[in-house]
């Protein structure tokens, strides 16, 4: 068994270098394709994170009548808080609302005209964040019926739009990643198959001198694995080198979006290695098979 494994690995190694042209072509194709796949995967992750962030921003704002007592407000807050769809509730008093407004004006560099006011024209409000923006309606109607609520800002249309948009982008992302994945798989399997076809003669002779199927198959499978492994390692090396400057650049320019990308690095490595090895092995296995069934 060990002898057999050693033999297969040695032959795979020899085969790889003996057909250097084919092998390097296959490896390079593998590298390029895996880079593409990894790139799309990372983009897809960034996209998903950004979308979650955008969706987080969806909140329900209910303006409170000035006549409402603090107890009524507290009751409303705790009632809303109790709803399973709700993530968090924040009460903004009238004074706070005015302060926010002033700060906002200042930040935008616009003249502050509230100084000329004799009374605070703003209403207090409660701002509700949801677990899932799709459940907006339930929450809105619940709040709307409370007597102390003056009005609920009609953000239904906006939310719908954001939801449809993020949904579409998400689907498109998955579809594109899927298409790129299929392209990658196809091209790698194809390259490996061509490499095997180019050695049909060798397989033929092996059969005729009495090699068993395992002796014919495994060296090719290991060779496919070798192509996959080399391809994946080179890709990961390149990505590792590129990751630092890239993520710095991202932090610099996207710092508006505090995106969580903790495990993307690990996931990408797993994806690249898995795809490389998997496609190499399966591609070789399938390609050799057609020659064995005779």
């Amino acid at each position: 068994m060990l002898v057999f494994a050693l033999f297969s690995i040695r032959r795979a190694w020899q085969g790889f270098w003996r057909n250097a042209l084919m092998s390097l072509a296959a490896t390079l194709t593998m590298v390029l394709m895996l880079t593409l796949l990894a790139g799309f995967f990372v983009l897809q992750n960034v996209l998903l994170a950004s979308l979650s962030y955008v969706e987080q921003k969806v909140e329900v704002v209910a303006y409170i009548e000035n006549t409402a007592t603090q107890e009524q407000v507290d009751a409303l807050v705790s009632q809303v808080q109790a709803m399973p769809e709700v993530a968090s509730v924040e009460y903004v008093s009238r004074d706070q609302a005015l302060a926010n407004f002033r700060a906002q004006l200042q930040a935008q560099g616009r003249p502050d005209l509230t100084a000329n006011l004799d009374q605070n024209p703003l209403y207090a409000s409660i701002n509700v964040k949801l677990h899932d923006p799709a459940q907006l309606n339930t929450v809105v109607s619940a709040i709307h019926d409370d007597p102390i609520v003056r009005s609920v800002i009609n953000i239904q249309a906006l939310v719908d739009r954001v939801l449809t948009f993020t949904g579409i982008v998400r689907t498109a992302g998955v579809v594109i990643l899927g298409i790129v994945g299929v392209i990658v798989l196809f091209i790698i399997v194809n390259t490996i198959r061509l490499a095997v076809v180019a050695r049909a003669e060798e397989i033929e002779i092996m059969r005729l001198v009495g090699a068993s199927d395992a002796f014919i198959r495994w060296p090719f499978v290991f060779e496919g694995a070798l192509v996959g492994l080399f391809g994946a390692l080179i890709t990961l090396g390149m990505l590792a080198l590129a990751a630092d400057p890239l993520s710095k650049a991202m932090v610099n320019f996207f710092n508006v979006l505090p995106i969580e990308l903790g495990s993307v690095g690990r996931d990408t490595a797993a994806l690249v290695l898995g795809t490389g090895l998997g496609v190499g092995v399966v591609g070789a296995w399938v390609s050799v098979r057609t020659y064995l069934i005779r």
Binding site: V3, F4, F7, R11, R18, N19, E201, E202, E204, I205, M206, L208, V209, G210, A211, S212, D213, F215, I216
Partner: protein
């Protein structure tokens, strides 16, 4: 010149009675009523009956296209007979499980008419290849290959690849590969077609010596001189039929 009698008629009798032939220790190759039609419709062998006892030396002669190579291809199960039974060393090839095929092939050493050498491997590697892929430990490969290359006179060319070889050298490489694993049967398809008379004779002497050790030899050839000089068993094919099967015969029919 006596016409050759099948070595064990009882086997043939048994074959006709039951569909699964029984193994005998005496006959290594038995063809019973074999026909081969290629997918394109060409009938290359018709109703061939042939029994080769262990240790025999058989010349297969006949004009180009008579079916000699086809017969040999049936013996290593490169092709399956469309009709009849092919039994090699007791194994009915049509009934053989896929997994058991390599075992049978390893008992046979075959010299292909078109050599079938690997263009990217050196002479040494081409010969070693047959051992490697059948799982021979490396320690035994080296001496075996060196020995057999010396035997066919290719020691000096060991490191050349096939397209750096003369035609005769390629043929001798193919012969070395067929001998290297000490097969019990040697099937040689025109092994002297590209050799000059001197080397041809050396090769024949080699085959005779191997034959004396008990190895069965089946050799297709057009070399009338060799066949006539050796006076071994001659099986003549024509248009897929055996038209002559004589012991101690010459290349041409003696009337």
């Amino acid at each position: 010149m006596t016409s050759h009698e099948p070595a064990s008629p009882s086997l043939l009798g048994r074959l006709t009675g039951r569909s699964r032939p029984v193994r005998t220790s005496r006959d290594v190759v038995v063809l019973h009523d074999v026909s081969k039609r290629y997918p394109n419709g060409r009938l290359a062998l018709r109703d061939v009956d042939l029994v080769v006892p262990e240790g025999d030396f058989v010349f297969l002669v006949g004009p180009s296209g008579a079916g000699k190579s086809t017969l040999m291809r049936l013996l290593i199960r490169d092709e399956l007979a469309t009709q009849g039974h092919v039994v090699v060393d007791g194994n009915d090839l049509a009934q053989l499980k896929r997994r058991a095929v390599p075992k049978v092939r390893r008992k046979i050493g075959i010299v292909f008419q078109d050599f079938k050498l690997l263009p990217r491997k050196t002479v040494w590697e081409n010969v070693a290849f047959a051992l490697e892929v059948t799982g021979t430990p490396r320690s035994r490969i080296r001496p075996a290959v060196d020995r057999v290359l010396a035997l066919v006179g290719l020691t000096a060319q060991a490191e050349q690849v096939p397209n750096q070889l003369s035609g005769g050298e390629q043929q001798r490489t193919a012969i070395a590969r067929a001998l290297v694993h000490d097969p019990r049967i040697i099937i040689a398809d025109e092994p002297t077609g590209n050799l000059d008379p001197v080397i041809s004779w050396e090769l024949i002497q080699l085959l005779l010596r191997i034959n004396e050790l008990g190895v069965t030899i089946l050799m297709a050839t057009h070399d009338a001189e060799v066949v006539t000089a050796l006076r071994k068993r001659v099986v003549a094919l024509e248009e897929g039929r055996i038209i002559r099967d004589e012991l101690g015969a010459t290349y041409h029919r003696e009337d």
